[in-house]
């Protein structure tokens, strides 16, 4: 840990006093939610524990959304909150909220510290728990009087090394080999667990060796080589047609660190209906949670993939079929008109930034366009709020990413709805002179909600217009960022070049057609092969 993100206040003041002598950096955000999302972005990119601090009461409750985000996306995090002194707990004291209770559903573990002598062990255990097994957030609620008590520092501070995962059962691996060899149409279903298990290289090697095609979840993107001819992109609600067809037709689905989330599966009884399923995971509680499987293999994923003694499989017909789907259903970028077509802009952005790119996303249509159209060279290149879908994540996550990898090209792709949920963090960018590149896709509405109202609520639009947005370019300048507005397709290349060359924080305000939609889309309750490709009369 080199950096913590936080915001001071009454009950956490003893900790902030001690921070003056700390050997790590404290980053002051402008809202506690900014701090917890920044810690999350830092953790995802650095592959280390993200740490955030807040005071009791409102400081702590402002962390809750970020803890839920880290919990659902399995991000290692330690959050330390101040609490009222022990003697005041339970009295409705000033800024007293039961943080332990309010966070119980969204933490991996939590502590209310009542004995100052326990602090070193609890902190060490919190770091170990956050990183061991399936990672997650841990809360330490620290009453002010406990924090104010001096304790002798232990001569040998407790270590916080994560536990190693168990090795998978060789008999089960042999059974998996047999199932894979017998399959005529095998498919890899890659989830975020592949990166968490540090099994990206093992996966890529396995794909090269065996020739098995792959699809990825939102959080699995970046794990398969994006340039592999048999990588079909994202599956599910906004997945590619090729990916969803492959899942429907495969006869063996090999789930790797994926959790059969409803956005990935669509209607569960129509998901991979012809397939037997092998599920590799670190977490026994994911086995059979949503869909029954034929074989479950728990433990170290990289070891499991390396141990599978399988070379090139005789599945040429299947490989040809998926390659044909991939060709036939490739995304098109020849949208009519002269306005900016966001999918094309995002595709070009990723191409220009190359392997150095890290995209942190907000939530909505632009988030799905990033997943569909940006080339993501590694899992750390894609920082997105997958499970929680928390608007406001993008900019603070970009701040965290820049502290983790200061030399990367870190781009936040946000929307005009999302950016206003943590707009105050532009001040944090300026304070630390962080060269974050913000692409604001502005359709003057809550586009994803508007799209669903158009499709599934008879076109009745309810509370989705943001036509009275502020002047975003001027707003960015007021914070001190460089900014430009883009509204013509023939200026896209120059605008992206300007953004990527900017030395400091910069915002590109991109105005797009308010009626642009995300396609394909699998309607709720439908099978993945029942995806919609466009509206009647829609250009695409």
């Amino acid at each position: 840990m080199e950096v913590v993100f936080g915001y001071p206040g009454g009950a956490i003041m003893p900790v902030y006093d001690a921070l003056l002598d700390a050997r790590f950096q404290h980053v002051l955000t402008r809202h506690e939610q900014g701090a917890v999302f920044a810690a999350d972005g830092y953790a995802r990119v650095a592959g280390r524990v993200g740490v955030c601090l807040a005071t009791s009461g409102p400081g702590g409750t402002n962390l809750v959304t970020g803890l839920a985000n880290a919990f659902l996306d399995s991000v290692p995090m330690v959050a330390i909150t101040g609490q009222v002194p022990l003697g005041l707990i339970g009295t409705d004291a000033f800024q007293e909220v039961d943080m332990f209770g309010i966070t119980l559903p969204v933490v991996k573990h939590s502590y209310l510290v009542s004995d100052p002598a326990e602090v070193p062990d609890i902190v060490a255990e919190a770091f170990r728990v956050a990183t061991s097994g399936r990672p997650g957030p841990v809360l330490i609620d620290l009453p002010k009087d406990v924090a104010q008590t001096d304790i002798p520092l232990p001569e040998h501070p407790p270590r916080a090394l994560p536990e190693e995962p168990p090795l998978p059962d060789p008999d089960l691996l042999a059974r998996a080999e047999e199932m894979i060899r017998r399959a005529k149409r095998p498919l890899l279903y890659v989830g975020g667990g592949v990166a968490l298990a540090r099994a990206v290289e093992a996966l890529r090697d396995f794909m090269r060796r065996t020739g098995i095609p792959a699809v990825a979840t939102l959080k699995g993107l970046g794990a398969p080589d994006p340039d592999h001819p048999l990588f079909l992109g994202m599956l599910g609600m906004h997945g590619t047609r090729a990916a969803n067809l492959a899942v429907q037709e495969c006869d063996l689905l090999i789930a790797l660190g994926a959790r059969f989330d409803d956005r990935a599966t669509g209607r569960v009884d129509g998901f991979a209906p012809k397939a037997r399923i092998i599920h590799f995971d670190r977490d026994a509680a994911e086995i059979g949670k949503i869909k029954g499987v034929d074989l479950a293999i728990l433990g170290a994923l990289a070891h499991a993939l390396d141990a599978l003694d399988i070379d090139a499989l005789p599945i040429a017909d299947w490989q040809d079929q998926v390659a044909q789907w991939k060709r036939e259903h490739a995304f098109r970028y020849d949208a009519p008109g002269t306005g900016v077509y966001a999918p094309h802009l995002l595709k070009r952005l990723a191409e220009k930034a190359g392997d150095d790119i890290i995209v942190t996303c907000d939530v909505g249509q632009h988030q799905m366009w990033v997943a569909q159209h940006c080339r993501l060279p590694r899992p750390e290149a894609h920082v997105t709020s997958g499970g929680l879908g928390a608007m406001g994540f993008g900019i603070p996550a970009g701040i965290g990413a820049l502290f983790a990898e200061p030399d990367a090209t870190v781009v936040t792709v946000t929307g005009d709805g999302s950016i206003m949920m943590n707009i105050q963090e532009l001040a944090t960018l300026m304070r630390y002179r962080l060269p974050l590149k913000i692409v604001l896709i502005d359709n003057q509405s809550l586009g994803m909600v508007r799209q669903w109202q158009d499709l599934f609520f008879a076109g009745k639009r309810s509370q989705v217009s943001l036509a009275d947005n502020p002047d975003f370019a001027a707003l960015a300048r007021a914070f001190g960022l460089a900014s430009r507005t883009l509204d013509r397709r023939d200026k896209v290349e120059a605008a992206l070049d300007w953004l990527l060359a900017a030395r400091g924080p910069a915002l590109l305000h991109v105005k797009i057609d308010p009626d642009e939609n995300v396609w394909p889309l699998v309607p709720p309750g439908a099978r993945n092969d029942e995806m919609l490709e466009g509206l009647k009369g829609d250009a695409r």
């Binding site: 728990v129 029954g292 293999i297 709720p524």
Partner: protein, 102 residues
């Protein structure tokens, strides 16, 4: 159908609350619960549960979810780190897929 779980937990702050909250959150109704001391360092929680009418949770999955909790030391009838569904196909699971997308 009512199932009874006997769960050995430690004395950490909120341990019983953590276990009972998880059970309710994961689609089960708690019909009865008894908490008693067990040894010098632990407690035993006996809980009778049944699925909520709108839910289709699996007891094996609930056991695995409970075992993830640091405060849970053992659950009667569960082997440590046992793969929940390893082995032959489970016809019951393969035919049962009541969950629709939200």
């Amino acid at each position: 159908m009512t199932e009874t779980l006997t769960i050995e937990i430690d004395h950490s702050h909120g341990a019983a609350l953590r276990v009972l909250g998880l059970i309710e959150r994961r689609g089960w109704r708690i019909r009865a619960a008894t908490l008693m001391p067990a040894g010098n360092t632990g407690q035993r929680l006996i809980v009778a549960v049944e699925p909520q009418p709108w839910s289709h949770p699996r007891l094996e999955v609930l056991r695995a979810q409970l075992k993830r909790l640091l405060c849970v030391r053992a659950i009667e009838g569960t082997e440590p780190d046992m793969p929940v569904l390893a082995g032959a196909p489970h016809p019951e699971f393969l035919s049962e897929n009541a969950r629709g997308a939200a």
